[in-house]
């Protein structure tokens, strides 16, 4: 028995490798396991090397896993490319109608023929799932009920597809049974009787639901990988009186439209990736300057330019804080996993309302696209914050004072001009030095209201600490746990609130001899920011387009300890 199992489906885009891993994960989650998925694929609809991975465990999961217990291959390239990650006892299941291999623990399945025999030529992946399930001692009943639920879509052909898929599942299982292959079976799930319900949810769904729980009214976006899923989820699910979801013609339109919508008093949000955030730079400056609340979710991918549209990276931190020209410092909240994506996005909406300006939710492909089982969030814990509305008592002096001031809403009193040029208290353009000084200081002073960021700290007496951010949290945590259990004295720090950083956290970090920052970029962007703030930070970085493996990260950290 082992604590967990990692299954990877590898092949070409369009061969169901991502769907296969998600089906496996979903069925496992239904059976009570913890699950976490990760996929990587090229930016094309059909073809190109792709794989989807499911990690199934009796314990809570931090990362997609370092090595593979089962490798399912649709073609020879997938075999060659992924074999190095197979564990010593791992098995291979492959489509023998595509290629032949010599390997002591490989199960050859003529999946095309078997799928046709099952009555659904498209069920090749399900044949392989059946074989995997049998090899790891996984319940076929759970898979059957999951298949039934998934393909019962109220269409005439559903029954035939379900029947074909279930037959395909059993054909695969029988073949595996006859082959005699089996690997260490995963421990049964641990019952947690007192816990809240568990849900299986993707990162982008959690972010959207967090925004909804915080009361977002308007979502306008433009399709871009890997952020499109947030736009389509909102299009399907953000409904009701006064709610609006729209597709803009570009990210320039998205951000401008959010400013126009936020001006009316509505809570607004968009999602994008690096190229879109680049285009939004000027608009974000306008939102900062004219003090319009809004939230931009940046789902980071590899950059610059078109970069790696479907890979993961943490290389937009600098841009997230300073996306445009001029003096501005945008609040940045970066969730480290699916659960945090919910709370972080709710907080981003609240922060934008509280300080009346734009907030960046900085997430990444590996978090947003990941499916994970989490405790069902208790939405009653979110207290919606809304900007205070002007009652007209200050007439049109919307920008009066040294901090956040009441917001006049069109249709009500206090007509003013929301102005992207430097402006006086009622929004009229001015170039006077004393007004520019006063207004610049006003805009930065408002950030001081964002003082409720929390952080994690463990072993705070150690002089060396690690502090990952965003999606590197899971692997960072895993590496820290292993190092600590090996007796290495190292501290742990983590926060979602990258800007402004919680003051108490910053004070602690400044006392360290060394703060190691694992991150997925060449420049060591967050470590550089910490150094600017007077922290002895060193970056531990890689830029493969994939998340950290715990084992790799652990070795890297060790190299920085001496």
């Amino acid at each position: 028995m082992s604590k967990n199992l990692v299954v990877r489906f590898a092949g070409e885009g369009g061969q169901g490798v991502v769907g296969g891993s998600e089906l496996m994960a979903s069925a496992a989650a239904e059976s009570g396991y913890h699950v976490l998925t990760f996929a990587t694929y090229p930016s094309q609809i059909k073809g190109g090397p792709a794989w989807g991975q499911a990690r199934i465990s009796s314990e809570p999961i931090l990362t997609p896993g370092d090595s593979l217990d089962v490798l399912v291959c649709q073609n020879e390239y997938a075999y060659d490319a992924n074999l190095p990650e197979l564990s010593d006892q791992g098995i291979i299941v492959y489509n023998s109608q595509e290629f032949e291999i010599e390997h002591p623990r490989a199960l050859a399945l003529p999946t095309d023929d078997m799928a046709r025999e099952a009555g659904n030529a498209r069920a090749g992946t399900i044949v392989m799932i059946g074989a995997v399930a049998k090899a790891v001692g996984f319940s076929l009943e759970a898979l059957e009920s999951f298949i039934t639920a998934r393909w019962d879509r109220g269409r005439p052909g559903d029954a035939a597809i379900i029947e074909g898929n279930i037959k395909a599942l059993h054909l695969g299982a029988t073949a595996a049974d006859e082959s005699g292959f089996e690997i260490a079976q995963v421990d049964p799930p641990v019952e947690e009787p007192d816990a809240r319900e568990r849900i299986l949810i993707r990162g982008y769904e959690a972010a959207c639901l967090g925004a909804m729980a915080a009361g977002v009214d308007v979502f306008i976006g433009y399709p871009i990988s890997p952020a499109t899923t947030m736009l389509t989820y909102m299009e399907s699910n953000l409904n009701g009186d006064g709610k609006f979801v729209g597709q803009a013609s570009s990210e320039i339109e998205s951000i401008a439209a959010l400013i126009g919508a936020g001006f009316t008093g509505k809570k607004t949000m968009t999602s994008t990736a690096g190229p879109g955030l680049s285009l939004m730079g000027e608009g974000l400056g306008l939102a900062w300057m004219s003090e319009i609340p809004l939230v931009v979710a940046d789902v980071q991918r590899g950059g610059p330019a078109t970069g790696l549209p479907t890979k993961t990276e943490q290389s937009d931190f600098i841009m997230a804080m300073n996306p445009g020209h001029g003096d501005m410092s945008l609040p940045v909240i970066a969730p480290g996993n699916v659960e945090e994506a919910f709370w972080a996005t709710a907080k981003a909406v609240n922060w934008s309302e509280r300080y009346q300006g734009p907030v960046i939710l900085l997430t990444e492909m590996s978090v947003a696209e990941r499916a994970q089982d989490i405790e069902r969030p208790d939405t009653s814990l979110i207290s919606q914050e809304s900007r205070s509305i002007s009652d007209g008592s200050v007439e049109n002096r919307r920008y009066e004072g040294e901090g956040v001031s009441p917001f006049p809403v069109p249709g009500g009193p206090g007509a003013y001009v929301a102005n992207g040029s430097e402006h006086d208290e009622q929004g009229d353009t001015t170039h006077l030095a004393d007004v520019h000084i006063q207004m610049t200081e006003r805009r930065f002073a408002k950030l001081k209201t964002l003082n409720d960021g929390t952080f994690e700290a463990e072993n705070p007496t150690a002089s060396i600490a690690i502090m990952p951010w965003g999606g590197s949290k899971g692997s960072g945590r895993g590496a820290w746990q292993e190092l600590t259990s090996e007796g290495i004295d190292i501290g742990w720090y983590y926060t979602m609130y990258l800007n402004p950083l919680p003051e108490e956290l910053l004070a602690e970090l400044r006392t360290k001899d060394k703060v190691l920052v694992p991150e997925l970029n060449y420049m060591g962007q967050f470590a550089g920011h910490l150094r600017q703030l007077g922290v002895a930070a060193e970056t531990i970085n890689q830029y493969t387009g994939l998340p950290w493996r715990i084992s790799d990260l652990k070795e890297e950290i060790k190299g920085h300890l001496s």
């Binding site: 989650a29 239904e30 568990r198 849900i199 299986l200 639901l209 909804m212 729980a213 009214d217 308007v218 306008i220 699910n237 953000l238 409904n239 009701g240 009186d241 709610k243 609006f244 729209g246 803009a248 013609s249 570009s250 320039i252 339109e253 998205s254 401008a256 439209a257 959010l258 400013i259 126009g260 919508a261 936020g262 001006f263 009316t264 008093g265 509505k266 607004t268 400056g285 306008l286 004219s290 069902r376 969030p377 939405t379 007439e395 049109n396 069109p410 249709g411 009500g412 009193p413 007509a415 003013y416 001009v417 929301a418 102005n419 992207g420 040029s421 009622q426 929004g427 009229d428 353009t429």
Partner: protein
């Protein structure tokens, strides 16, 4: 009710056409407020960058709300404002540089939505605020600081652009005709869909076209601006195209589509048809329970 800032010191050059447009807008907004029995604060002026955009700060008398944004993005800002609150009256003011050069990519998308807004374009055929560079509507062969050998790019025909982009109500006017211009803006604001009032608004400093627009019949110089004949059927798209394609500046209603369902009504109707209920977050979570 808020009044304009008496200390605001921006001004246009003497004789600028934008003064006439400003006056017409002030009158149209005041007339609308009294006619509809709604506060003037129910109107929002979204202004672009350039001489024209400063109009939002120069409004005299009762003040509407205003957004003075970034160069070229009046239409997407208005898209957000109108979509977020369809009860607001949204008026865009822009110039030929802001609207037809940097902002041209936004015309067709918002026109095709049939966003229920009114755009007033002040066309002076030049970049005024940056001192006289060529704009899309500068004439061919015109010499400017950026067209040393004379302008090599053909002059844009904005009316053709609007018709091609899908605008449903298009009026061509002159800044000197304040009362007809006021009426045109009122009509456009009352039209349920995407409307544009394109105004010849001459720049007395860099491109003074007053004389050319007016002509000099006594000396045999035909006026560039010609009233649209009563025989023109503005509801006929092809007649509008033919008229817009002719040289010169037509004055009057170029095109007015009979059928116009604005963007927000399209959405409301589609949602009603599909029977979409309000979001229930807990129900969405229920569907994810394992």
């Amino acid at each position: 009710m808020a009044k304009r800032n008496p200390s605001y010191d921006f001004t246009w050059c003497p004789g600028c056409g934008d003064f006439g447009v400003k006056r017409a807008i002030e009158r149209a907004l005041t007339a609308r407020a009294s006619e509809k029995q709604e506060p003037i604060e129910n109107s929002v002026i979204v202004a672009g960058i350039g001489c024209s955009g400063n109009l939002v700060h120069l409004q005299e008398g009762p003040q509407p709300f205003g957004i003075h944004g970034i160069h070229g993005r009046t239409l997407p800002i208005a898209y957000g404002t109108k979509s977020a609150n369809p009860d607001l009256n949204v008026l865009v003011v822009s110039g030929d540089g802001d609207f037809l050069s940097i902002g041209s990519e936004h015309i067709a998308p918002q026109a095709r939505r049939n966003l229920d807004i009114t755009v007033v374009v002040m066309d002076n055929g030049i970049y005024g605020l940056t001192k006289g560079q060529a704009s899309p509507t500068t004439d061919l062969e015109e010499i400017t600081p950026t067209t040393k050998y004379g302008k090599l790019d053909d002059r844009m025909n904005p009316l053709m652009v609007y018709l091609g982009g899908g605008a449903r109500f298009i009026i061509s006017e002159l800044s000197t005709r304040i009362r007809p211009l006021q009426q045109a803006i009122e009509d456009a604001m009352n039209y349920p869909g995407f409307s544009i009032v394109h105004v010849q608004s001459p720049c007395t400093t860099y491109n003074d076209t007053y004389a050319a627009l007016k002509g000099d019949e006594a000396n045999g110089i035909k006026a560039l601006a010609q009233p649209i004949a009563d025989s023109h059927d503005a509801s006929d798209y092809f007649q509008a195209l033919a008229l817009a394609a002719q040289p010169g500046v037509p004055v009057g209603v170029l095109y007015k589509a009979d059928n116009s369902v604005p963007a927000h009504d399209r959405l409301t109707q589609a949602k009603q048809k599909a029977g979409i209920a309000s979001t229930d977050i807990e129900k969405l979570f229920d569907g994810m329970v394992i």
